[in-house]
């Protein structure tokens, strides 16, 4: 046991290392976010923060809870699969509180052309027109009701105007 006395300086040195390690752990404890490493090498709480961001598009189910009449018209027409906010824009504020925000009616001359302006790049089966030739500047809703765009007059609907 005579060797242990000579090794006292090593124990002092080891003690210093232990002390520094403790300081490291204490500093690390305060610097590293609590949820870091919860799911992996990242801050687990970030997932909840990203999920908590506010929505701007309410989703068509929200619209359909009130606007049942429009839904019935739309379901029967060619735009059945087009969601409300595809044309009307983001309306989560209106869905949360209908009095807080009144949606602006889209201008059919603009909104219809966004999809239906003819282009060779578009799929062949998609209904397309050259707006100026087709309607001579009249708003689309003069003839087509946007929620069910097929025209009532079967002769015209069958291809009178193209």
């Amino acid at each position: 046991m005579s060797g242990s006395k000579d090794a006292a300086h090593l124990f002092r040195f080891a003690g210093l290392f232990v002390l520094l390690f403790v300081v490291f752990l204490v500093v690390r404890h305060y610097i590293v976010p609590k949820s870091f490493g919860q799911y992996g090498h990242y801050r687990g709480a970030a997932i909840g923060e990203i999920a908590a961001r506010p929505i701007k598009y309410a989703g068509h189910e929200a619209c359909e809870t009130c606007h049942v009449d429009v839904l019935d018209v739309k379901k029967a027409g060619k735009h059945a699969h087009v969601n409300c906010e595809a044309c009307h824009g983001p309306l989560a504020k209106h869905a949360d509180d209908p009095t807080a925000m009144t949606p602006v009616k889209p201008d059919t001359a603009v909104i219809c052309a966004q999809c239906h302006t003819a282009s060779a790049a578009k799929p062949k089966g998609f209904p397309q027109v050259i707006p100026d030739d087709h309607s001579t500047g009249l708003p689309c809703e003069t003839c087509h009701k946007p929620h069910s765009p097929a025209m009532d007059n079967p002769a015209v609907a069958a291809g009178g105007a193209k």
Binding site: S4, F11, G15, V18, L19, F21, V22, L25, V26, R28, H29, V32, P33, K34, S35, F36, G37, Q38, Y39, G40, H41, Y42, R43, G44, A45, A46, I47, G48, E49, I50, A51, A52, R53, P54, I55, K56, Y57, G59, H60, H79, H81, V82, N83, E85, A86, C87, G89, P90, Q114, C115, T117, S119, A120, A121, K122, P123, F126
Partner: protein
Amino acid sequence: MKISRRQILILLPAAAVAWKSLLAGTPEASPNYTMTDHWWSMLIDIPKCIGCGNCVRACQAENDVPDGNFRTWVERYHVSDENMTNPVVISPDGGKEGFPPVAQEDAGKYFFVPKLCNQCADSPCTQVCPVGATFTSPDGVVLVDQTYCLGCAYCVQACPYGCRYIHPVKKVADKCTLCYHRITKGLTTACCEACPTGARQLADLKNPKDPIHEFLKTHAVQILKPQMATGAKVFYNGLDGTVR
């Protein structure tokens, strides 16, 4: 060798602190949403895309994407018969305001390709982050912790699909979150909500009732750059071989 009282006095608090740091971490879960029940992806049906730009506008509105940056965008390909290996690709302002007209007499084929983060299962972008600010969530969405990001842009360079950018105001990495704030509330993404033709569809690969499974079974579906082995989860139906 005996441990002295002095050594024990040093070691015990150290052990206590180490144990406490191991136990740290507060569980974070939205009510009625279990992350491990989902594995999110998206289906892009190219023959249905009309290049209207609704998805790009919806994404910018939903996520406050700054002008000139895109979390999703639409490209128009023109592949001529004579030069099939070099398609002409345009995406003016991400396709946000549509595309210029096509001369009908132009030879070859045209089609639109919507792009977004591929939500890779083995994503190169998360692997290069030096601080652990970007990650694949347990439900398969590649997210950015913007309070932790340094803005070094390693991830922007690492993404083989060009889906990331440095936010010009926040100066941190930004990208498609697959509308994580919506899908965790049972809604679809803003781009899918706004797509008038159903060319984009959110899909949950862990949900056996999701129509994606039937679609994948019955269609020839491809991912972008499969040779990169990124584990991309955005599936393209009708993808032309010229698309990069």
